[in-house]
Amino acid sequence: MAHFNRHPITPWILLAPQLLIVAVFFFWPAYQAIEQAFYVEDAFGLSREFTGLSNFVSVLSEPEYLTTLWTTTYFSFAVAFGAMALALGLAVLADRVLRGAHAYKTLLIWPYAVAPAVAGVLWLFLFDPTLGILPELLSAIGIDWNHKLNGDQAMLLVVLASIWKQMSYNFVFFLAGLQAIPKSLLEAAAMDRAGPWRRFWTITFPLLSPTSFFLLVMNVVYAFFETFGTIDATTQGGPAGSTRTLVYKVYEDGFVGQDLGSSAAQSVLLMVIVGVLTLIQFKYVEKKVQY
């Protein structure tokens, strides 16, 4: 301690690179967004006028915004639930693999290294109505796949692509969580006459709850923000706004529609929504978590 007191600057120098990055890429844009949300700018960006809360009022009274909010809600739920359930299933299987476990795990972790846009393009090609393999196969069983026209199919596509991308992340955490459960607990349960299914739901699953809770928070944040690249590369929010999530609308209104004030107001709202969701998760879900 005495050492630090003599050189009060040292810790700050050591922290500086990180602080600089956070300041440039988070605090400054966040501040800009909040400031921007209270102004209306002219079409050429030459002048702007303070308008108070009018940006927020117009966003919230827009029926399209509520539609987008609803779309985002079920998109996020589908992605978070799907990515977690699949990852948990795969982690349980991987935990049992004895031979070639390393290769198996590495292969499952790979999708995380793929950029969201690339993941989106990958799925786009697979499902392309004219070029893709899957619509060809689907038509054989009587399903007419065209996500460029069918909103539900478009939603399914972005959900699939987003799940595929996030699953690896969840898999790593679930696998670590599973491996932290002492084998003797499951052996004790086996001797206590619990079958594999019951062992999983009464022992493994409750003991994984801290991991699941952490992943729930991370997956909701992921679905809200980080799926932008995937959506932009596959459906661009279409058809007819059926895959337009809040973050995509922020981009559309601001950078395509050039309505920076409204876009900024929406991004502030988005920040608030995610903040509130995270708070709710900590307050209510965490209580049921077994540490």
Binding site: P182, S184, L185, E187, A188, A189, A190, M191, D192, R193, A194, G195, R198, T202, I203, P206, L207, Q290
Partner: protein, 371 residues
């Protein structure tokens, strides 16, 4: 209550390691059997094969005369107390004990009754609402036993259940386990590496070494008649002293020059063997005392004294012997380091082991002392 029989039981792991080489044992109803041995001797593997947590590679395991090799752990009606207790951390003490009963769809009021009975028996009634992490080591141990008891199984298995407890608690829990087992009369198999625990608990004792059974018998039989040098060295604390000896015309010649009127049965003159004598069986002679008939006389210089209160252990240097000779003396015996003790090995107290480590039959040479 059940009988257990192991017939040529073998265990080989997929990587080729052979943990058990043909174990033949039979345990009677209500017996408390202790399996003891150094780490890696296969004792835990043996217990886990009994539990059904490890497959049996060859041979048969029978409970009440019925082969159970292929039965799942749950179907064998066996309860096990694990070394780390393996309590479910997210359940209360009550739920921990009730879990096995719930899985068998036992009626609610019966669960309630059986758990409270077991809790009463183990002094856990006040703790039923607690979580395992709010309990002390001894309490967790009791919960683990309670979980085994409520199920009223045919067989109890204990996998080094006391090794995580401190020394004082270990002695206390050892007594409790013994008392409980006597009261419930459930056939029990108890694995430990601690020979004191093994001696005090066992009705009968299995000493294992390198995947083999070295000896199976009552604790006192193993103490009095160890079948091998390994058992002799493992059972008894402090361990038996071993002296190298040579078969001579009139008895056995010890490296320090002494002779004892004792011979290994069927050995040629000049054959090398090992003589074992327990620290408590070395007789201390006063300067004027006559040497008992046939005994070997040793002059041992004390290097280190360990007073234990009731006893005093003297670690002595003996000529021609690299290992120190341990002598157990009365607590009142005043001895000092650097002092020389005059000791006698009586032929009746000596154990002989051949070059293969097996016990040799002995022949006392009554005439040797007279010559």
């Amino acid at each position: 209550m059940a009988t257990l029989a192991l017939k040529q039981l073998k265990k080989q792991y997929p990587n080729g390691y052979k943990a058990l080489h043909g174990i033949d044992l039979a345990f009677g109803e209500g017996e408390l059997i202790v399996i003891v041995g150094p780490s890696g001797c296969g004792k835990s593997t043996l217990l886990r094969t009994l539990a059904g947590l490890e497959d049996i590679s060859e041979g048969d395991l029978e409970i009440n005369g019925k082969r159970v090799n292929e039965l799942e752990p749950a179907e064998r009606d066996i309860a096990m107390v694990f070394q780390n207790y393996a309590l479910y951390p997210h359940m209360s003490v009550f739920d921990n004990m009730a879990y096995g009963l719930k899985n068998r769809r036992t009626p609610k009021d019966e669960i309630q009754q059986r758990v409270s009975e077991a809790a009463e028996l183990l002094g856990l009634t006040e703790l039923l609402d607690r979580r395992p992490k709010q309990l002390s080591g001894g309490q967790r141990q009791r919960v683990a036993m309670g979980r085994a008891i409520v199920r009223k199984p045919q067989v109890f298995l204990f996998d080094e259940p006391l090794s995580n407890l401190d020394a004082k608690l270990r002695v206390q829990m050892r007594l409790e386990i013994r008392r409980l087992q006597k009261r419930l009369k459930v056939t029990s198999v108890y694995v430990t590496h601690d020979q004191t625990e093994a001696m005090t608990l066992a009705d009968r004792l299995v000493v294992m070494n390198g995947g083999h059974v070295e000896q199976f018998g009552t604790p006192m039989a193993l103490y009095d008649q160890p079948a091998s040098q390994f058992v002799a060295g493992f059972i008894g604390s402090p361990a038996m002293n071993f002296l190298s000896a040579t078969q001579a015309q009139t008895g056995l010649a010890l490296p320090c020059g002494a002779t004892i009127a004792l011979q290994g049965e069927g050995l040629a003159t000049g054959a090398e063997l090992t003589l074992g004598i327990r620290p408590e069986h070395l007789q201390v002679l006063g300067a004027a005392d006559a040497l008992p008939a046939g005994a070997a006389e040793l002059e041992a210089r004390i290097e280190l004294v360990e007073p234990l209160g009731a006893d005093t252990l003297a670690y002595c240097r003996l000529q021609g012997q690299s290992e120190p000779l341990v002598v157990r003396l009365d607590g009142e015996h005043a001895v000092a380091e650097e002092q020389t003790l005059r000791l006698a090995i009586l032929p009746a107290r000596a154990h002989l082991f051949g070059a293969d480590g097996k016990r040799l039959a002995t022949r006392e040479q009554a005439t040797a002392a007279i010559e």
